[in-house]
Every structure is written in C-alpha cells, then in structure tokens.
Symmetry: C2
Subunit: 298 residues, 2 copies
C-alpha cells in the first residue's frame, strides 16, 4: 500500500521548472591556447587546444552575442577579466562586457542587472568561492541570473575554479588542500545554487581533493560530489544531464549507498571513515545523470 | 526593459509545489509538564505548561492518530524515545510508534517506510543533527517523509533541538557553544531540507549562539538564520509562513541587506565582522514570512 501512494505522489514532481539554460563548470586552468601544455596534456592524444572555451562560445545564441565576464571571485578583478576579454576576442567574440561587482551594494545596481539581462552567456572567473557567495548571495543580480538560466533557452553560465565551485550547494571552501581526512577541517556553506545537492570541487586530481569531497558527502549522503580536474568541465543541461568535456577526468562521488560512517561519532579533529561510496571516473564525451529523486525541491 | 522581463518570469514561480504539511521546529527542552520551571519560565506570565507538545497533538489529523517518534539523533535512542512515548500517552495519544533507525541500512527498510506511511505526525528527538543527516541523507525513508510533508494535508513533522536544526539547509553542527566569531569555527553542511535557505539554530539565547548563526549567514546572505530559544518553537505552513509559539523568543537574522563583511578576506582562525544584518526578536503569536524570492528552487 505504501508503495502505491508513493508512486502517485511522484507524478507531481514535474511541476518544478526544468531549466532551459545550461551550466558549464570548469575545473580551472582551462586551455587558453598558446600556453605550455602540462605533462598530462602532452601525453593525451585527445587534447584539443581551447576545447572548453570554444564549446562555451559555440553554445551562445544570437548573432554578435554578448559575453559577460564576472570577476567577483578574484581579488584582482581587472586582471582576471582582462585575460578572458582577450581570450574571447581571440575566439571571435567582439562583444565582451565585465560585471565588475566588488561588494554587496554593487550587486543591487540597475546597470549590472541590465548587463545580465543583455548577456548571451556568463563567464565566472576563478578566485575564492566564498567571495562569490558572500557578495552575491541573495542579491538581485544573482536572482536575475537564476531566472535567465531557468527560463531562457540556450542561456549559458560558465564558471571556472571558484566560479565552478560556487555553482552548487553544498559549496566547499578553504578545506585543506591536501588531506581533508580530519573531521571539521573541511569548510562547507551554501553556494549560489544553480544546482542543488551537488558539491563541485575543482583542481581535483591536481590537488588530491577526493578525501575532502568524501567528508562533505559523508555528512549528508543525499549530495553527489563532482571533482573536476584542471582543463576539464561538465556541461549540465535540463538541470541534471551531465556531459564531460576537456582533457582530464571528472570524478563522481555518490554517497547514496554509504552503509557506514563514523562522522557523527567522532570528535572534531579526529580522522573520519566511510564505507561503500560509489565513485565514477569519466572522460570527455561521457555522460551522467544527476539523481532527481529530490526534485520535490523541498 | 530588464524590469518587465523579470516580472514575466516571476509568474512561473507558482509551478513549484506548496507543501500541504507543516513543520514544528522546537529549540529544545520544551515543557513536558510536572518539571521544575526555569527562571525565565517562572517570570513569564504567559508560560503555559506543555504548550508546544499540546499544539503538536492538536494538529494531528484523523481519529486515533499515530505519532511516530524518530530518536535517530540520539546515542541513547531507547531512552530518548521512551520520554516522548510517555509524554504523548499522558497527552492522550494512544498510538505511538518508534522509527528506530540506527544506521543507513535501516533507513531503507520497508517496515520503516510503512510506519512513515501510517503516521499522522512525526517527532524527531534531540541528540546530534549530524547523525540525522549522515544516516538519513538521501535515504528512501527521508524521501517518503518529504513526500508526505509536501502532498498530505495536515501532516506535521516536529523536531526538537537536533531534530529542529536538521530540518533545513544550511545546517550548523558542532560550532563552538559560545563564540563562533572565529572564521572556520562554525561547521556547516546540508540538512534534511524540509526548508531551504534557512539556518535553524537551537538553545539559542541559552547558549549565546547569535554569533555563529551570523557567521553562517555572512558566508551566504541568501539564507535566513532562525534562532530558537528553549521551550520555544516555530510552526511553518505553506513552506514559508512562520508562527511563533512557546515561552521564549525567536531570533531572526536576515542577511539580505548586508553591506559589508570581511569573511572572504580574512584567514581561517581570524575574527570575522559583518554590517547591516537585520535582526528580529519574535514572541508567541508573532508571525513572519520567509522570503520566497528563491522559489525558483534552482
């Protein structure tokens, strides 16, 4: 009997809007062309120069599309924006503007809202993801970005490094670069939440971050961990369809099947353990569906 | 022009289901009758013995309603459940069962799903909120609770102390009891998420926790902090309509208007600061609407 009632309720799930835009979460250090290759990139016969940024460009709708660069995560926003302006110009985009939001007051200004309204795509640069959530959290500019992502067909929001980490809740910040096996040593807060129940971590293999993501997932196995290697990205469409691109691997940490963890039994400062996480390593072209069991959105 | 487009999009917000059930988040140590009163309760001429639990009982639908006690947060689940069984019997509820989930495997068992299906209301006891998220996160039992909360008119989920803290995302756990003014000293993860963008803290005035909630809100001002004093509760209906009951105060910390914070500029271990939080102190009978600006649920 319980089973039938549950099934009936599931019919209502479609009521939540399926996003018409897409997300491009990049693990940092994406190829910008003309730079020296890493050892892995040298060895990778599938390596394509500027693959990820070219994908971003190719997704933009309209003629002469405007790309909006958001350097808010960076403490050197001018330099950070300049890199992307040059790169996008090189890739044939003439119309590049900068959403130069440096504090919470900026995030309410009509001129910035108007820029978000005109953009065909957004590129959120690297820096510190905590700057993004502390400055943009709950702001009119963020809300408008979410509305455009939800309702505007083909609208794309890209983020690299901090810009990718901030896209979802939970958001990891300032965990130990190596390690993360000590309870409490991984700092988590809510992200900008274009996705939910997903923890995106970046520079993933480069910085050995699977342990910190696992600690995050152990505290609530209802969330999926996604580790993005450098020059590697996921494109998310319809809110949950994931496709991998770029030269490295994407690590998926699925905790739904966790059978045991001591995270709630040990004290802060003690090493944690966890059993039966499911881990996937995905390469360019691979696809993955984020669980939508929680599409009640409550 | 931007303005019109935004308004149009807002029309779609109603698509997300409005919960038909209600939540009762209690700050811990709710009056169970026949116990010694605290100094504040003695002085409070409005104090009513067992007010909060009587409200819970009065909300239950049906004749001979079944109350399901969830003692999973407690390391002494039998004792914890026994207290509530006795209390509910005393208040005239004959039909009390215990959802004795002690680990992740339990949270998938059909017999527990069946109990959740039969319950008229759920009471989540105190203990450690991290036990609740680590054990129930992403589980079939949690999903069924969410479905019942969303679709079943009059279904009520109560939680006290840890049971209240775990109801929403972000969830604070193991922050310093006093203080919380040091960056990184407040641990946050995702909660069971019957509510979102709300941080519920408990034993609030008793344990001086406004600072740790403020740190949580500063990291993402898109979230509202709700501090529940002991023997004080909020009842949440329609997903965002809050009403206060009980003998103490509820503290609301609204960070949407934050103009400045150094949380993204300082290092872990340094004291943080924040300006222009809005704080409300509400007493029994007062109401408050949680912002629904984010009802896109993305």
């Amino acid at each position: 009997m319980a089973k039938n009632k549950v099934s009936d309720r599931h019919k209502h799930h479609k009521e939540s809007p399926i996003p018409r835009g897409s997300l491009l979460a990049i693990g940092g250090s994406e190829s910008k062309g003309g730079k020296e290759l890493s050892e892995e990139q040298e060895k990778n016969t599938d390596f394509k120069d500027e693959e990820i940024l070219k994908y971003f460009i190719s997704s933009l709708k309209g003629s002469d599309p405007m790309v909006l660069v958001v350097p808010t995560a960076s403490t050197e926003p001018e330099e950070s924006a300049k890199d992307y302006i040059e790169e996008f110009h090189k890739l044939g985009i003439k119309n590049v503007e900068v959403l130069d939001i440096r504090n919470r007051m900026d995030a309410r200004k009509p001129e910035f809202l108007e820029m978000v309204e005109r953009a065909a795509g957004i590129m959120i640069t690297g820096g510190d993801q905590l700057r993004l959530t502390s400055i943009l959290g709950g702001s009119p500019v963020l809300q408008l970005m979410k509305e455009r992502y939800t309702y505007d067909e083909g609208f794309i929001i890209a983020g690299t490094s901090a810009g990718a980490a901030a896209m979802s809740t939970p958001m990891i910040y300032e965990g130990e670069t190596q390690g993360g096996y000590i309870k409490g040593d991984v700092r988590i807060t809510t992200g900008l939440e274009f996705l939910k129940n997903v923890a995106i971590d970046t520079h993933f293999i480069q910085r050995g971050r699977i342990v910190r993501v696992s600690q995050c997932i152990a505290t609530n196995p209802g969330c999926i961990g996604i580790g993005l290697e450098e020059d590697t990205a996921i494109c998310v469409t319809k809110g949950n369809e994931v496709k991998v691109l770029g030269s490295g691997l994407v690590t998926i940490v699925d905790g739904l099947g966790i059978t045991e963890t001591n995270i709630y039994e040990i004290k802060t400062g003690e090493p944690f353990s966890v059993r039966d996480m499911k881990v996937h390593l995905l390469a360019a072209g691979d696809t993955y569906s984020l669980p939508i069991y929680d599409q009640l959105h409550i």
